[in-house]
């Protein structure tokens, strides 16, 4: 190999046979060399840990200790743990009250941005600015705005004649506050994704609808929404995935009691519970089991997604 490399670099051309061998090797091997970094990185830092987490979840392991086979015991322990069910429910409710308004508002915002606008660039960058803000920075700012005693949000509510809301210590207000942070960070991002899809909708569809006398709202509901349906499904999947993994927002929103998701675990999510089990309690086996439950949840979501897409395709086929 070393000689052949020198041969290509050196002045005298290598013999024809060697050259074509080299050329063939170049053609055959190079694609694999190019994709190798991804697969090596994934194997080392993605696949191996994933499988190993599964193995750990069947054991009793402490940080730094040796593993002891436990079978499905960790999963059984989760099934009877009220903390687990609480975290699962919180992950679900926070997920719903952040994802649904976020995507609805993103749709509306994309529709607005789709008009012929003055200052279009400004509006697009402005609604995307929260995306540039980190989870940590956004949460620390919102934690101040939502503060029960001096936060601006309670001040404004006070002006409107409302009692101050205990945004951190009561369950639903805390979950709403956390969802607000998520929604704030991601609405503009999703709006831009919708906007791009909307601009790819063929103009003829709108013309046909207008000819049929469809109002603007009707056009939006009957032309725009169905046309960008794949994009909507895509964002639903992405944001559902994101909300399944929620960690930084609840942790930092809770301040000194953030690790346990509030004083009464009222906003403890699956990720927080996993962190607490693994790094505070040191029960790595149980933490791994929680991680695998999250994977199963995501697979379930992905399965539902596939089913919806399939049935949509079928309907489309039978419809036309």
């Amino acid at each position: 190999m070393a000689t052949s490399v020198r041969a290509t670099r050196g002045g005298s051309p290598p013999p024809a046979g060697l050259r074509s061998t080299l050329h063939r090797l170049d053609l055959k091997a190079v694609p694999y060399v190019f994709v190798a970094p991804f697969f090596l990185t994934f194997a080392a830092f993605g696949l191996f840990p994933l499988v190993y987490t599964g193995w750990l979840s069947l054991h009793r392991v402490e940080l730094g200790g040796s593993a002891q086979w436990k079978g499905l015991e960790n999963y059984g322990a989760l099934a009877t743990s009220e903390f687990f069910w609480n975290a699962l429910a919180n992950t679900f409710t926070i997920g719903v009250i952040s994802t649904v308004p976020q995507l609805l508002m993103a749709l509306g915002l994309a529709h607005l941005l789709n008009y012929r606008l003055r200052g279009r660039g400004f509006f697009r960058v402005a609604v995307l600015a929260p995306y540039a803000t980190s989870i940590a920075a956004a949460t620390l700012v919102f934690a101040q705005l939502f503060n029960t005693d001096y936060g601006l949000i309670n001040t404004v509510l006070g002006w409107a004649g409302f009692e101050p809301v205990a945004w951190e210590s009561s369950k639903w207000p805390a979950q709403i506050a956390i969802s607000t942070i998520v929604t704030w960070r991601w609405t503009g991002y999703n709006a831009l994704i919708y906007l791009a899809a909307m601009q790819a909708v063929p103009q003829d569809l709108y013309e046909a609808a207008a000819l049929d006398g469809a109002s603007r709202l009707r056009q939006f509901l009957s032309v725009t929404i169905p046309s960008i349906r794949p994009t909507i499904l895509f964002t639903v999947i992405v944001s559902t995935n994101g909300s399944t993994q929620l960690f930084g927002e609840p942790m930092l929103f809770g301040g000194s009691v953030g690790i346990s998701g509030g004083s009464g675990n009222q906003f403890q999510t699956l990720s927080l519970l996993m962190y607490e089990k693994g790094w505070v309690t040191g029960a790595l086996g149980q933490a791994s089991a929680i991680a695998w439950v999250m994977l199963l949840l995501l697979l379930l979501i992905g399965g539902v997604h596939t089913l919806i897409t399939r049935s949509h395709h079928k309907r489309k086929k039978s419809g036309s």
Binding site: G46, L109, L112, A126, S134, A136, T155, R216
Partner: protein, 311 residues
């Protein structure tokens, strides 16, 4: 919400005239264009609603600046301040020197820089292979790349933590950089771009001239891919800059923190640390990216939309 969806504008609504044209054969396109879909000019209500959205998006960032310019005691006093105070530079100096946000800023720049450089390089190579080079198993491998995008980081952090503990890499920046050397999203993004942007004839012509693959990469692929590489670089930089979950586990606030880890450390000590300093830290972590967005906003918007449409 329903109201924003509706967005009535003062442009003329469909009238009986249009119903009449419906009956007429083959109406002229140009005329109808103005009344269809995106061609509409925005009415005042659109501007009001968009202005509101911009305000909601920008206010927390503005208030961050306000809070970072007051004394700690003032920030936690009702009603919270709405206008900038006199202490911005004192707070910045304090956060920079006392809580080491400066060091965190350097760490974050190093991490985000390395991660985006290597991701762009490796993604371009892999994207080129998937887009233009025939090889066995290409379809299956590409499907695998896409599938890995949905695996959450939670599934690997426990073994990863054991690995970096074993290697003595806790608090070392490489424990954050190495797992992010290349990303499935980047590979997919570059493939989508190169499929259309790079004519296969160009690659074949270079091969006919006797160029080997590295030459082709350097003289053909990189020049063609440059715009997409720039966009991908920005997106990955933003993501790496803001990454929280794994850095929070691998690095500690007292060791070699990135900005997000340092901030989390400040925030968790909520009762001992001056809130104005915490929010100054938040400002330091946000400002560089906001500046990038202000300058390159259009390209980032373009990149996000380009990456999404093709998904």
């Amino acid at each position: 919400m329903a109201r924003t969806l509706d967005t009535p504008t003062p442009t003329p609504t469909p009238t009986p005239v249009r119903t009449a044209t419906a009956a007429a054969p083959a109406p002229r396109r140009g005329l109808l264009r103005q009344s269809a879909g995106r061609q509409h000019h925005a009415g005042p209500l659109t501007y009001v609603l968009l202005g509101l959205a911009a305000l909601v998006s920008l206010f927390p960032l503005y208030w961050n600046l306000v809070a970072a310019s007051h004394r700690g005691e003032r920030v936690v006093e009702a009603p919270a301040p709405l206008l900038p105070g006199p202490r911005l530079f004192d707070n910045l100096a304090f956060a920079w020197n006392q809580v080491d946000m400066g060091e965190a800023l350097v760490n974050t720049t190093v991490v985000a820089g390395l991660v985006s450089l290597s991701t762009v390089l490796f993604s371009t190579l892999a994207g080129f292979a998937f887009a233009k080079l025939p090889f066995k198993g290409r379809g299956a491998l590409l499907a695998l790349v896409v599938a890995t995008m949905t695996i959450p980081p939670q599934l690997s952090v426990i073994p990863l933590y054991q690995i970096i503990t074993g290697l003595g890499w806790v608090d070392q920046l490489q424990s954050v950089v190495l797992p992010s050397l290349v990303a499935a999203f980047g590979v997919f993004f570059m493939r989508q771009y190169l499929i259309e942007a790079l004519p296969v004839e160009l690659v074949e012509a270079a091969r006919m001239d006797g160029a080997h693959s590295l030459r082709i990469i350097w003289h053909v692929v990189f020049p063609v891919a440059r715009p997409a590489m720039a966009v991908l670089g920005m997106l990955v930089f933003v993501q790496a800059w803001n990454d929280f979950f794994w850095p929070f586990i691998a690095l500690t606030p007292d060791g070699n923190p990135t900005l997000q880890v340092a901030l989390a450390g400040l925030g968790a000590g909520a009762h001992t640390v001056d809130q104005a300093v915490v929010l100054t830290g938040a400002l330091i972590s946000t400002l560089p990216l906001l500046l990038v967005f202000a300058v390159l906003g259009k390209h980032i918007v373009g990149g996000i939309t380009a990456g999404a449409v093709k998904n």
